[in-house]
């Protein structure tokens, strides 16, 4: 009896495939082109209605990359809700949808399809990760979706010719590497330097920047594969090479791991961590637990050098941090204000500026044009200006070098700005302005 059944297998298979197709297509709704995209009167582009603007993003909310990064969209959401509660932008409230890609580019491509084709977002704001976001770069630019403020310091986002809709946001890793390199050159000219690098573009670009200044001082460059948590061999190699200063281009969890591993080896170089990896509050909290236990010296991370471009949660007197605290208390969910959440809020703030600049009837092209025209003049939570112009979609232009001390940081030098390649490093003398009294930017429409 099983023979004919087997022969019918394919017929049945085809029927089930059909059924699956039909059933799952139910509820899909009409095609977006025929949908009510233009309804609501006064709407000017996809995702914009008379009283709302919808934006979206992809973040790792589950899986290995979720710790930390999953807090960024909660910060952005809190700030958008704060703006909405205060009247929105040009009378429109901002709807913010973020979806999980588990830091897997295959998923990123799926959720971006969902955001663009199903949710019909006006723009992507703050999509996170280099491999993940580069999977949707062509798609977003092909569909003409503004792809603003990618949460990654890769150089890929600054290609206005090829990717006219994409804009970076944070200082790219090369710029940061250059400023750190120059600092070491000027202040520790005789030190042997070791590099501790994540084995991807983050480590690569950072190394390039640092080598531009201290190539002759570098005695070893050790790379760790993200996901491999046993970094004992790498730290041991740096120790064996006699490195007195270690510059780390790594993520925060590896900052904690590198500290613990060095502790095991009783290895005490001067640590310099890139901004991505430092987050003094987070790393400090992670490492303090060990000191409650059997590790004696209070804060392992104390005395390490890092860079900053935003006032962090530990600078509770800064007017920007006070604003973020107020926003988080009123509109945040569970948990405390963290630097990840401040990062998300700062991106959200920048988007509100861009949306204001795009005028009362924003279009996708309009917001890109507005950023190219006035983006370089926008001032906000960051110490430094953006590099946005018609020829550049690169984000923030610099950082300042600081030393971690107690729960906060101490400036080791002025705020410095530069650009990729041979551009000189210069001091940024403009005073960092506090936020507007109501906490909402007021950018005049362009044109």
């Amino acid at each position: 009896m099983s023979r004919p059944a087997r022969h019918r297998g394919l017929v049945a298979g085809a029927l089930v495939a059909i059924a699956a197709l039909v059933v799952s297509s139910c509820g899909a709704g009409g095609r977006p082109e025929d949908g009510e995209g233009g309804g609501g009167g006064g709407a000017s582009d996809v995702g914009v209605t008379a009283d709302t603007v919808k934006v979206g993003a992809h973040f790792p909310l589950t899986g290995v990359a979720a710790p930390g990064y999953s807090e960024i969209p909660t910060g952005a959401k809190a700030y958008f809700e704060y703006v909405n509660a205060n009247g929105g932008v040009h009378g429109r409230t901002i709807e913010y949808v973020f979806r999980d890609d588990a830091y897997n580019p295959t998923n990123t491509s799926q959720v971006t399809n969902e955001l663009v084709l199903q949710d019909e977002i006006f723009a992507m704001v703050g999509g996170l990760g280099t491999p993940t976001h580069s999977a949707v770069l062509d798609f977003l630019n092909g569909e003409g979706v503004p792809d603003l403020f990618v949460s990654s310091g890769s150089l890929l986002w600054d290609q206005p010719e090829q990717n006219p809709m994409t804009f970076g946001w944070q200082p790219d890793y090369e710029v940061e590497g250059k400023i750190i390199g120059q600092y070491v050159k000027q202040n520790m000219p005789d030190a042997k330097v070791g590099l501790f690098l994540q084995d991807d573009d983050f480590g690569e670009d950072g190394e390039k920047g640092a080598r531009a200044y201290i190539d002759d001082q570098i005695v070893a460059a050790e790379r760790y594969a993200p996901g491999n948590t046993d970094i004992g061999p790498q730290i041991a190699a740096l120790q064996a090479a006699g490195a007195e200063v270690i510059i780390g281009f790594n993520v925060p969890s590896y900052t904690a791991l590198s500290q613990l591993t060095a502790l095991r080896l009783n290895y005490k170089p001067q640590w310099i961590y890139s901004n991505v990896g430092s987050d003094p509050a987070l790393v400090g909290a992670l490492l303090s637990r060990f000191s409650e236990g059997k590790v004696t010296d209070a804060s392992l991370i104390d005395g390490a050098i890092t860079t900053e471009y935003l006032p962090g949660v530990e600078e509770s007197d800064d007017p920007w941090t006070r604003l973020w605290q107020k926003v988080w208390d009123a509109h945040g969910g569970e948990g405390k204000l963290t630097n990840y959440r401040i990062y998300g809020m700062s991106q959200a703030y920048t988007f509100v500026q861009a949306l204001q600049a795009a005028g009362p009837e924003p279009t996708r092209e309009g917001i890109v044009e507005a950023l190219e025209r006035v983006g370089g003049e926008l001032r906000g939570p960051a110490f430094v200006p953006y590099r946005y112009s018609a020829d550049s979609h690169a984000g923030l232009s610099g950082v300042k070098v600081v030393r971690i001390s107690g729960d906060g940081t101490k400036d080791l030098g002025p705020v410095q700005v530069t650009d990729n390649g041979d551009a000189d490093i210069t001091e940024h003398t403009e005073k960092h302005a506090p936020p507007p009294p109501d906490g909402i930017p007021d950018v005049q429409p362009v044109g």
């Binding site: 297998g9 085809a14 059909i18």
Partner: protein, 349 residues
Amino acid sequence: MRALVHRVLPSSVLLRHVLAVLAALVVVVLVLETTSQFRNSQFATMSYYAIAAVGLTVLTGLNGQISLGHGALMAVGAYTTALLLADGAVPFPLAMLAATAVTALVGVVVGAAAARLHGPYLAGATLALAVGVPGLAIYFDGLLGGEQGLRVSSPRPPDWLDDALYFLTANDLTGAKYLAYLGWGTLLLVLLLLANLMAGRYGRVWRAVRDDEVAAELAGLRLGRLRVLAFVVSAACAGLAGSVLAMVVRLAAPSGFTIVLSLSLLTAVVVGGLGSLTGALLGSALLVFLPPAVTNVGTSAGLTGVQAAQLAPFVYGVVLVVVMLVAPGGVMGLVRSWRRRGLRQGGSR
């Protein structure tokens, strides 16, 4: 009922399969033309999962070899495609063929090693394969792009096809829809080939090897060679699936081929119903459609975005456990037992 089926359908197995595939093709066109672009893109995603899953069902369901490493084979196909499409000189169908061939070749090597191993030892070796192969992309980062991966320029619909479909359906051919057509066209072709293979001599001997190795060997079957062949067929499907994946996702990167992918394929095959092509299709549909559906249910039930996202894997895990407890034969096992019960009650025997 069965008599009727037999009277209406032609007696040749091949012809019947061809007819079924043609019928399915019509339905695919109808469905893709009437659903939204987003659904089209989901179907494109489902197509590459399904191509790999039907290949895996040949290996695991028919031949009884477990593989936790098919994600790595998909990576081989995806990277081959990415490299060939890089400078635009190679037309994409050729790249797909090459990806299939290269992965089949890798399948010969892996299959030869795998033929010597059984049960958990094979599982362990293929698991190590799934974790190890993406490491190659990072080691040879000059050629393979490292952690960032290789961007793939996915094919654009040719004008004549756009015109033809517009003529037929009055719909424009969007990029998402074109990729869905590409994926499903490939899938249907693979289904046709595999269905014939499974109904034929090789299907019989593979099942014989799975069910009783000693008896099969006594009957004069050369087990080693048969095992390797099953692995090669299955690897070729995985390579083709990887090729489609690269074009749909527009990227081949190590983080896209984690162990999660390999394990997802295995769950798709078993939950759908081991050994059944239909089951593999159902399992792939579950992979693609369940998580976003759960997330959306969670969001509309008032959960925050983060909570709703965490709900999706939780529900997926629970579904896996429940299906195995309620229906040990997978969904297709359930369907079969219903059908049998229906026949008995209807008294048609």
